[in-house]
């Protein structure tokens, strides 16, 4: 059923049951949000999305207020703008203003809103830290509750997306604080280190430990790619700075997984730059000395060689073995970790060049 409403004087027809925020979004009317996220159930607790409804006694949170026939809404009246600015100032009063060194500056939603509304820390606010910085031993997630604005997105993300319910709220009033389980370390509260809560946290309260201080949003390039671990096929963005992968970020358009990732996909990337990487072709010494296969006299030592040398040795060996024992004496194990295109070429090499069907991979294992 359609109902008729007005937003900022503009008449709009919209479907009953929708919220003011949804309708405003559909009609490109900007209403700022903080605790709201499209993937999560709205809670209406941050009061950034308040709007003025004609005839209403209070300002209403747009994310949780459904529309009704004849509703008239003002999204940026003076009253609304003032109230939002005050809300921001109250948050800032209780927030360490160390944007200079904060890891998430540039992608912090609080910072953006403070900028938009030109909200400053009130003279009476921000008197030092209340909680331990980096308070949780979780190896991936950096917890700094001083920066928490109690939007509770972490709580919703963990519950609604991960289905894990690690985060909750303890105490009331000024003491109100987000805690894992009954105030225990995250892993003890059965956290799976998926990082969903970090991805949804709008501030630096929850951030990533592995790349803390290594690069801010505007300093990194994002490259969307597909996970190299399991067959679910999640997509995400690799964060690249100075030709190094310094992190992984959720990409909301990922077809299979949306913002969700698991611990391996999100935090298992540092093998890419591990010093153990083989970076030069290696052959056993005996191959260079044209001796038979032997471990004697250093014959089994690895020698780094140029590509040409290594590839020619390989080709010659395959050719000899094929000549002496037939094509079926050679086997190929292709890789479930490599690209389709690479697997295709392994299949072509086996069948067209070597002439054998001895090709398999570790799907069985």
């Amino acid at each position: 059923m359609a109902v008729n409403i007005k937003i900022n004087g503009q008449p709009i027809q919209a479907e009953a049951g929708k919220t003011v925020l949804q309708v405003a979004k559909e009609h490109d009317v900007h209403i700022p949000t903080l605790c709201y996220h499209k993937d999560l159930n709205p809670t209406g607790n941050c009061r950034m999305c308040i709007v003025e409804v004609k005839g209403g006694r209070f300002l209403q949170a747009a994310c949780v207020t459904p529309i009704w026939e004849g509703m008239e809404i003002e999204t940026s009246s003076e009253k609304v703008m003032k109230d939002r600015k005050l809300t921001l100032e109250l948050m800032l009063a209780n927030h360490p203003v160390d944007c200079m060194t904060c890891d998430v500056a540039g992608e912090c939603e609080l910072q953006d809103l403070a900028y938009e509304y030109q909200a400053k820390v009130p003279a009476w606010g921000a008197k030092g830290t209340r909680y331990k910085v980096d308070s949780d031993p979780n190896p991936f997630i950096r917890v700094d509750m001083n920066k928490c604005i109690l939007c509770r997105r972490c709580e919703s993300a963990c519950a609604e997306i991960q289905g894990r319910n690690v985060w909750g709220v303890a105490k009331r009033g000024f003491e109100e604080v987000i805690v894992a389980g009954a105030g225990v370390p995250m892993l003890e509260a059965r956290c799976e280190s998926c990082g969903q809560c970090v991805a949804y946290c709008p501030t630096g309260a929850l951030s990533n430990k592995m790349n803390y201080g290594m690069g801010r949003a505007h300093q990194v390039t994002k490259v969307t790619t597909t996970c190299s671990y399991c067959g679910v096929g999640c997509q995400f963005d690799l964060l690249v700075k100075n030709n190094k992968v310094i992190g992984v970020a959720s990409n909301p358009n990922a077809p299979v997984n949306g913002m969700a990732l698991c611990v391996k996909g999100r935090y298992g990337y540092d093998y890419i730059h591990h010093p153990d990487r083989v970076v030069k072709p290696r052959v056993r010494r005996y191959l260079l000395e044209e001796r038979g296969k032997t471990k004697e006299d250093g014959g089994w030592d690895w020698i780094d060689v140029e590509w040409d040398v290594a590839l020619n040795i390989v080709a010659k060996k395959f050719m000899e073995i094929r000549g002496n024992f037939g094509a079926d004496s050679i086997g190929l194990l292709t890789s479930a970790k490599c690209l389709n295109e690479e697997n295709y070429l392994m299949n072509k090499l086996a069948r067209q060049v070597i002439g054998t069907n001895n090709i398999d991979h570790c799907a069985r294992l």
């Binding site: 592995m210 490259v223 597909t226 190299s228 671990y229 399991c230 067959g231 679910v232 690249v240 992968v245 698991c262 611990v263 391996k264 298992g268 540092d270 093998y271 990487r277 083989v278 970076v279 030069k280 290696r282 052959v283 590509w307 290594a310 590839l311 390989v314 060996k317 050719m319 073995i321 094929r322 000549g323 024992f325 094509a327 050679i330 086997g331 190929l332 194990l333 890789s335 479930a336 970790k337 490599c338 690209l339 389709n340 295109e341 690479e342 697997n343 295709y344 070429l345 392994m346 299949n347 090499l349 067209q352 069907n357 001895n358 090709i359 398999d360 991979h361 570790c362 799907a363 069985r364």
Partner: protein, 561 residues
């Protein structure tokens, strides 16, 4: 996966530790159960994470899946819960199948599986009364000598209930490695070309011979180094390894795999690889297998390459290069192509030396004979031309944001999210009568316990990558073997003990994790860490059809160290 998570009324998960092995998919099931009210039946000897939210958890004895499934189907038939019209219209061989199932009354099944009779009834009711029920399975089903029969029996169940080809139903295998699906699709199998075109089919041979510039067999006399397409089914990985000792296999080219860690019976594998004439390994790390390699060529990680992976639901997605190649490492496709070119060059000059006629050479004028690809997109062109199900999947379409699941035969085809909606690939679905067969290795006085193997959330396969990821190592830095508290008491273990586990093939030591995740009489170990890899103990008894080893059941002895 999306349809399953959104539309299944119930899930039946068997042999899949979904939340640890396919974590993001696991969470969608968690959500469906917690917030959508979907029912969940989990059949697994271990109390794995997902059992916590299960409506019902059946703890069958390891290796008794068929008995369990037949028992459930017996109850479904007994109660008349089967989907009669589906059976009549879309399937065949029902009567023969039914006769077999009738040998599995609940009491007997309960004895074989150790699952109480009332739980069997409850499970059958949940699975049958919620329509559709999605069946999910993984390696816990296939890594048995009866792996293929297990899978067939799951198909029986879904046909019986009419859950095949329905959004939110079906049998849904969860593929392990990120691109297992793609490796299979691309002909990384001994019996098929890309898109499962059989190597034994003369038409298929003809097609590829033409494309790749080869001659078909009848045109000339066989010579060991002549260029023909073999129509002989090749060896599987589990046959190649012993083939080395038998003298059949002289050389292996291994791309990004680590058989020393991932294959059963490590000691035997080491022995095989030690005996090979020439082992070429292409890897990013000096893996455990590298110790046996004659040549080690540095490939690159996914962050350094562009191309495609295919996920477990046949979705083809782009992988994009984010950073330059490390050191002097090269694209894996480039390396393979270089080897091919050089072998071809050597072979043809070798032929000339032997004064063989020109015609033994590859005909370079054939459309896809050559190896000078400029990038993976050029390789994809060739795949499009020769792989019907990938005919319309191009890099350009994927880069334009299209979401494609194969089959996608042409560039204007939208892809196929759900298979078998109207008809099975072979016409009618055929019921297969399947009987319970006990596992290959049984516990005895010397090896009284059963060990099962698998992976954990924080690590991946042979651990080459995850053991080099710092944070993952902080959370899970050494191998833990799960031991039931009852057994722990008997063995005198406490929370800090090390155990030695011995099978008929070897022995490992690892930290014990005393937990009721495993039932009494069973231990669970992983193969992520070389110093205590479960595969030192496993055996190479294979499923006769799929040639998959029975990792899930090894008889072992456990002692306190």
């Amino acid at each position: 996966m999306d349809d399953v998570a959104k539309e299944a009324k119930a899930f039946f998960i068997i042999g899949s530790n979904t939340t640890e092995q396919h974590p993001v998919f696991g969470t969608t099931i968690r959500r469906a159960v917690k917030y959508r009210g979907a029912k969940l039946v989990v059949a697994d000897p271990r109390k794995i994470d997902i059992t916590e939210i299960a409506t019902l958890h059946l703890r069958q004895r390891p290796g008794t899946d068929i008995a369990l499934l037949n028992g459930l189907m017996y109850i479904i038939l007994e109660k008349g819960w089967e989907n009669k019209s589906f059976i009549d219209e879309r399937t065949e061989n029902f009567d023969e199948f039914k006769a077999t199932v009738m040998d599995y009354p609940p009491e007997k099944v309960s004895q074989i599986t150790n699952v109480p009779v009332d739980q069997l009834y409850e499970a059958a009711e949940i699975i049958a009364s919620n329509n559709p029920t999605a069946v999910l399975w993984a390696m816990g089903i296939t890594q048995h000598i009866v792996g293929v029969r297990n899978v067939m029996d799951l198909a029986n169940l879904q046909m019986l209930l009419g859950n095949m080809g329905k959004a939110g139903g079906g049998v849904n295998p969860l593929r392990g490695q990120n691109n297992v699906q793609g490796a299979c699709d691309m002909g990384g199998l001994p019996n098929v070309f890309p898109a499962y075109q059989p190597v034994t089919s003369p038409d298929v041979i003809e097609k590829f011979a033409k494309a790749w510039g080869l001659r078909t067999k009848d045109e000339f006399i066989l010579h060991p180094s002549s260029f023909i397409l073999s129509d002989k089914i090749g060896l599987t990985v589990t046959e190649m390894m012993p083939g080395i000792l038998e003298g059949k296999i002289k050389s292996l080219y291994i791309l990004g795999e680590d058989p020393v860690m991932s294959d059963p019976d490590t000691k035997h594998i080491r022995h095989c690889l030690e005996s090979i004439d020439f082992l070429l390994l292409q890897e990013i790390f000096p893996s455990e297998t590298a110790a046996y390699a004659d040549v080690l060529l540095p490939g690159i990680s996914f962050a350094e390459k562009t191309g495609t992976f295919t996920n477990t639901e046949r979705r083809v997605q782009m992988v994009r290069k984010a950073i330059p190649r490390q050191g002097d490492a090269r694209d894996d496709w480039w390396i393979t192509a270089e080897i091919a070119k050089r072998v071809l060059f050597h072979l043809s000059s070798f032929e000339e030396n032997e004064k063989k006629e020109e015609r033994r050479k590859i005909d370079e004028s054939a459309p896809w004979a050559k190896w000078d690809y400029k990038d993976t997109s050029a390789i994809m062109d060739e795949i499009n031309a020769l792989t019907p199900s990938y005919g319309g999947i191009t890099h350009a379409r994927l880069e334009a944001g299209e979401r494609l699941q194969w089959p996608c035969p042409t560039t204007d085809h939208p892809g196929t999210p759900i298979l078998h909606t109207k008809q099975f690939t072979r016409g009618k679905g055929k019921f297969m009568p399947i009987d319970h067969v006990p596992p290959a290795e049984k516990p005895d006085d010397d090896f009284p316990m059963v060990m099962s193997t698998g992976r954990v959330l924080y690590h991946w396969h042979g651990g080459q990558m995850t053991r080099r990821a710092q944070g993952l190592m902080q959370v899970y830095g050494e191998s833990l073997v799960e031991v039931n508290p009852d057994d722990a008491v008997k063995l005198g273990l406490n929370g800090k003990s090390k155990v030695r586990i011995t099978s008929r093939r070897g022995s490992i030591e690892a930290q014990a994790w005393v937990t009721d995740r495993v039932p009494p009489g069973m231990v669970y170990a992983n193969f992520h860490f070389p110093e205590s890899s479960a595969n030192e103990l496993t055996h190479a008894s294979l499923d006769p059809v799929a040639k998959i080893p029975e990792y899930k059941i090894t008889a072992v002895k456990v002692e306190l160290v």
